[in-house]
Amino acid sequence: MTIEVRDLSTHFRLSAGTIKAVDGVSLSVRRGQILGLVGESGSGKTVTGFSIMRLVESPGFIAGGNILFQGTDLARISEEEMRRLRGNRIAMIFQDPMMTLNPVLRIDTQMVETIRAHEKTSREEALRRARDALGMVGIPSPEERLKAYPHQFSGGMRQRVAIAIAFLHKPDLIIADEPTTALDVTIQGQILAEVQKLTSKFGTSLIWISHDLSVVAALADEIAVMYAGRLVEQGKVGEVLDHPLHPYTKGLIDSVPNRNRRGAALNQIKGMTPSLADLPEGCSFRTRCPREAEICKQVPLTREWLHDHTARCHRPYHPTEDFT
Amino acid sequence: MATSVHSPKPEIRKRGEQTPFRRFVSDFIVSRLAVLGLFVLGLVVLIAIFAPLLAPQNPYDLAQLDILDGMLQPGTVGGGGYPYWLGTDEQGRDMLSAIFFGLRISLFVGLGSAILAFVIGATLGLTAAYFGGKVDAAIMRWVDLQLSFPAILVALLILSLLGRGVLNVMLALVIVEWAYYARTARAAALVERGREYIEAAQCLALPTSRIVYRHLLPNCLPPLIVIGTMQVASAIALEATLSFLGLGVPVTEPSLGLLISNGYQFMLSGNYWVSFYPGVALLVTIVAINLVGDQLRDVLNPRLKT
């Protein structure tokens, strides 16, 4: 097990009250495995990623739970111990490559500082490694590109640089927060392939945060679905996509346009994502749920309905049920 | 008691039902500091208006001055039988009275020049925005050129040519300040000009002056008022500075700045009060205006909030 998150809660203390952005999330990723963390914007998937990195900023804070990374609880270690892990054993790739690189620092500075933050190496050695890393992610003539500034790169190229930085120390875990969302579709595919290649090459575990089911379907081994700060369903990718238990997961799947059902009206999830400050009691999805019943006013617990396939629902779809 | 719980409370109205002015007032009084500033400002203005009635003596009527009372410490009772609360200057002039009269001139110059600059600057700014093209380019090029030089340099240029005098100082301040109003008015008007109601007014073939003054100007007023408040404070400060340098008002009509300047020569010998108290009066006035202006900016123009 590379990472095992148990009952993680991250809250934001605002003047209007406390917001539970992440509310009792448990998930785990084995070595070399890819977990797709799926949900709408505001569902808490990004905050979960930042919580694992311990980069949640005030007024947010980790309110409880354990983040076991190779046996160490990240929620308990000191800030300095955590810093030594960041960018070294656990790396992160951000959503918008246009914003992640510092505009006034050259690429070589931003790469060398990452190497030297964790290892005592000479500048020359660090530069050589930075160059190799750029070459590895498919950036042509890396020697020259090292001396360039971020704005001289396209969005796709910048994301490649960010990926190269993330892989500099061959980390055990990478958290990728929608790294392809801001890119053109053709570039998306390239970046996806690049990440897939590198993770399998180094045996890196990956948490891929996305709102795009089709990306996750193509990439991940396991899938975890988040809704309003809670994990509502978790299991093997094929299993979850073929036999969704939770009505929300099924709604998500049905919302994806499908070639085979052309002409048919898309199914939508009714209503809007509720505000985290004003969630319905019990199951937070019940007001939008087609299967709502009286029991849903009580908070559902996570239960393993099928083998290695859990859902947090009182009335899940049964796998034998006919969906069409 | 029970009835009062059930009866609706008329004094608590919802925001939407308030008149714009009431909403403005309730937003303004949120800051206690700003209310204090407004109170102090009101007091200062009243003192300035009623200075001849409030002051123990007329500091510029030489018959009322007693040279034997020169350079008395604050609080000493002089030949007139009343105490000089803030001391006297070398001619036996009661500093409290001198400050009251000095406030009049400082406020007159500051407010007067600000109003004039407001009228000229807003007119030119609106003209630039409404007509655009070459008129806009000519006016704004001049505004940019002038704003690239510091106010004190422009004032120095004008006063070194015209010499000192109340009207000359006011003229210098107007020339320094109009550009700020012009820039603000133009920026606000450009936003408003694109709105549909202006187009509608143009379609009705209303005269240009009517469109500008009845439709454009009222909508540009809030930012202009904010700038105006701040400019009154900086006009008063600049006038005081110029007078301190001997380039401002003449000795016969001393503003606070000139009082400070006059007292400056006695300070090194330890007679601090001749210079210090007029300075405090100046300071209180400027800070009060700025507090009010700061809150006005927050209330009238949420976009400018920092």
Binding site: G87 | P150, I152, F276
Partner: protein, 323 residues
């Protein structure tokens, strides 16, 4: 870079030309040029001779042309009071003013940046609130009043610092400087701080606003995710981004500081060109006034140019666009 300069230089020249017209019209057309250019003590014959010699009987555009030609040759006439070239007189006083202005700009940065950084990093702490309140005071207090209070406190009451003058100076690089002697430094302390108050406030506000913005940016989060130390993030990633706007504004403000030195020099009897111009205005030594005004205009034009260039060097994005 060169093409950029070539594009900017005509603009700068045009500004100079416009301002020369303003000063010419001001000095030669509004006032009586005879009074302005000829000493009031001159006799009637001397006046007539002077009028012809100065070409005041010529049409106005010819007068402007000769004014312009003389200006180009650095000739704006001789001071009535000192009977030397007005420009020479000004240049002699320039080092003292520059010393004051540069020292206060430096002080503004040295004090303002750390305070602004602190206020930006811990915006809700009580210290930060005090810093920001102080900076509002720094903006709204008239600097001459602060100067007077400083003298009252440090010279008259405590007797720690001299109230005026430059103190001992040392000859270096063709001019005399106060900052190289301890006595000179003691004389500099109050004027420099007085002149720096506005800049300290300005730098605090700029730095704070910059920190608040940059600290929330993705690239700072990414820098944290890379495992950099907080020190490096603040000193390199945050500070380097803030430096650009701060340097620009502080640089642009240098001219204003030199202009405001007029006030500080008058209070602290600092023998720079600000004190000279006030003295000259008081005795109507108009060639000196013209020399000062034209020099200030030139300075503003040059400063604007230099700041644009510095901006290009510091910000790689601007540099590339202009290539």
């Amino acid at each position: 870079m060169v093409s950029y300069l070539l594009r900017r230089l005509p603009q700068a020249a045009l500004t100079m030309l416009v301002m020369s017209v303003v000063v010419f019209v001001g000095v030669f057309a509004i006032g009586n040029p005879v009074d302005i250019l000829i000493s009031p003590q001159a006799t009637a014959t001397e006046r007539d001779n002077a009028i012809r010699a100065l070409g005041l009987d010529l049409p106005i555009w010819q007068q402007y042309w000769s004014f312009l030609v003389n200006l180009f040759q650095g000739d704006v006439g001789r001071s009535f009071v000192f009977n030397v070239s007005a420009l020479h007189l000004i240049m002699e006083r320039l080092p003292a003013t520059l010393e004051l202005a540069l020292a206060s700009t430096l002080l503004g940065l040295v004090i303002g940046m750390p305070f602004g950084l602190y206020a930006g990093l811990a915006p809700n702490s009580r210290v930060s609130t005090s810093i920001m309140a102080g900076s509002i005071l720094g903006f709204s207090l008239p600097s001459f009043w602060v100067g007077i209070v400083m003298i009252m406190l440090f010279s008259v009451h405590l007797g720690w610092l001299p109230s005026g003058g430059r103190g001992d100076t040392v000859y270096w690089l063709g001019a005399r400087w106060s900052f190289l002697t301890t006595d000179g430094l003691a004389h500099m302390a109050m004027p420099v701080l007085n002149l720096a108050l506005f800049q300290i406030s300005m730098v605090i506000r700029l730095t704070r606003a910059g920190v608040r913005e940059v600290i929330l940016s993705d690239y700072v989060k990414f820098a944290r995710a890379k495992g950099l130390t907080e020190t490096r993030i603040i000193l390199v990633h945050v500070l380097k981004n803030i430096l650009i706007p701060v340097i620009t504004v502080v640089g642009l403000n240098l001219g204003t500081v030199i202009a405001f030195a007029v006030v500080t020099e008058t209070i602290f009897s600092w023998p720079g060109m600000g004190k000279l111009i006030i003295d000259s205005i008081n005795v109507l030594d108009r060639p000196v006034i013209v020399a000062y005004l034209m020099l200030m205009v030139l300075m503003f034009v040059v400063i604007n140019l230099l700041v644009d260039l510095a901006y290009m060097v510091l910000d790689p994005r601007v540099r590339l666009e202009s290539r």
